[in-house]
Amino acid sequence: MKVLDFIVRSNEPLNDKNHLIKVTPENGEPLPEMFPGQFVQILVNNSHDVFLRRPVSINNIDLDNNELWILVKRVGEGTEKICNLVSGDTMNIIFPLGNSFSIPEKKTNTLLVGGGVGTAPLLFLGKKLSEKGYKPAFLLGGRTESDILQLSDFEQYGDVYCTTEDGSFGEKGFVTGHSVLQKNRFDFIYTCGPKPMMVAVAKHANSNGIDCEASLENLMACGFGACLCCIEKTVRGNVCTCTEGPVFNIKELTWLD
């Protein structure tokens, strides 16, 4: 873990809410190895109202350019200020934080299911799986077509299936209703997104005997295990989402009870 100033290299709006922001350490030092599922804690400057840092997933690491990518959705004052940053602005970041998705030892049929900005860590995961020689599949959901983010990036690493609630893109409905879940056989499902979606995915996985990991977004004060605010109730008792998560095997969680 480190705390470092980063420079914004670019900030690209992907739709009216979501921004892809690429940052690099101001002092030029090379980024350490980071793993998909890990996140960073961003200090929000220039805000009356934001006191705590804001946790954001690692969307990608571009080693060639020494860049960390984040995908941020404006939901309140903190994410608003982050999305308003422009090239050349600085951003103080604590990184990398948390555990990561497990990468299967042997070639496995993996499905990465994301909803909304919850797809953020799945791009980095897809890349790592693909680098391992596994061809992951992606199932991305949104309310409408413009909610499907970074489609062409995902397509580099594997087949992409989509659902939209209004049917404007991919199959109409929720991710758990997509036909690929019936047609193809998956041995490992990873999911990140709104909790109701993740619970539905977890239930599908569980009842079909598929291994499944979910990435949680509990409220955090510190992000590195010091405050004990971010706990999730697990079969082992209360554990910190920021250090023992954000990725949990769904068998550890109490969601299925």
Binding site: V3, L219, N238
Partner: protein
């Protein structure tokens, strides 16, 4: 170069900057960010006789210049601490002070007794002010009688430095301070969190699972400084001040108000390196003002 050493009872701190219980884990969490040996001391997480799961999620809400928490003393109990955490952290080149909490006087006494035997454990902080547990906790800290009673009971079994941590949720904190001083406390630390609450207006539910929780952060600083000043003028034992400290200027303010040492709490979450920056800032301030020792600044507000 100004002298930074301060004494709290028999406890010697290399500088007045320590970290507040519940905001600094067991130090380990900050090892990547700072040299723990550069701190005056570390007050570790509230420790109880038995393990505790703490309160349900959600336990945190952001507020203007602060936060509410209702962690509720989640910890693995004093035995686990002694067997598994103490062996690691006793190697740090700083003072480790355990924050002792409980539901009954017997809990406090039994926990303190176990800690008394550890060498490299020069002091405890008696937490009679936690607002986030159903029984005990803060209720001990809001009356002079119960505060004195638990202090006296622990005093009998704990011969080393005993710091009693006071609750700000009282009409007169200096009365409580005098009561625990009379009951044998070597020092008082203040403030713990203020009892507060926040409601999500869309769901109409409290933002914390426990409805109320403890308010901390810069928002409470003006009240905390006032309480330190009141207590400093009421007792003879050294005062350890805290509440919203987020930079060296705040630390100086607490020292001028009467703090022999200070604790940095919530702001560690925002800048995990802040405590060492504060050590440096205090030193530079003293040098700039030609003050030989930080001890010469304690309580030296001009009236």
């Amino acid at each position: 170069m100004a002298g930074l050493e301060v004494n709290i009872g028999d406890l010697k701190l290399k500088n007045p900057v320590t970290t507040a219980s519940g905001t600094f884990g067991y130090g380990t969490e900050y090892k990547d960010f700072i040299d723990l040996g550069s701190l005056g001391g570390i007050f570790v997480k509230g420790t109880t006789l038995e393990p505790r799961q703490g309160n349900d999620y959600p336990r945190m809400a952001e507020t203007p210049s602060g936060m509410l928490n209702s962690v509720g003393l989640q910890n693995k109990g004093v035995d686990y601490f002694i067997d598994h955490l103490y062996p690691v952290i006793k190697e740090y080149d700083t003072n480790i002070i355990v924050n002792v909490s409980g539901s009954t006087i017997e809990d406090y006494v039994a926990t303190a007794e176990k800690l008394a035997d550890l060498d490299k454990m020069p002091a405890i902080e008696l937490n009679i002010s936690c607002p986030n547990v159903k029984e005990g906790g803060m209720s001990f800290g809001v009356s002079c009688e119960s505060a004195a009673k638990v202090t006296r009971a622990v005093r009998e079994v704990f011969p080393k430095t005993m710091i009693v941590k006071l609750s700000p949720n009282v009409t007169s904190i200096s009365e409580i301070a005098k009561a625990v001083e009379g009951a044998g406390a070597d020092s008082v630390s203040l403030v713990n969190t203020f009892l507060g609450m926040a409601i999500d207006i869309e769901s109409r539910r409290p933002k914390l699972s426990t409805t109320t929780g403890g308010l901390s952060g810069p928002c409470i600083k003006p009240i905390a400084v006032r309480m330190v000043w009141e207590v400093y003028n009421a007792v003879k034992v050294p005062v350890i001040g805290m509440g919203g400290i987020s930079n060296w200027q705040d630390a100086i303010e607490f020292i001028l108000a009467g703090s022999s040492a200070i604790q940095v709490g919530t702001y560690n979450f925002i800048d995990p390196t802040i405590s060492v920056k504060i050590v440096k800032g205090i030193e530079e301030y003293l040098d700039r003002h030609n003050i030989a020792s930080v001890r010469d600044l304690v309580g030296q507000m001009c009236k």
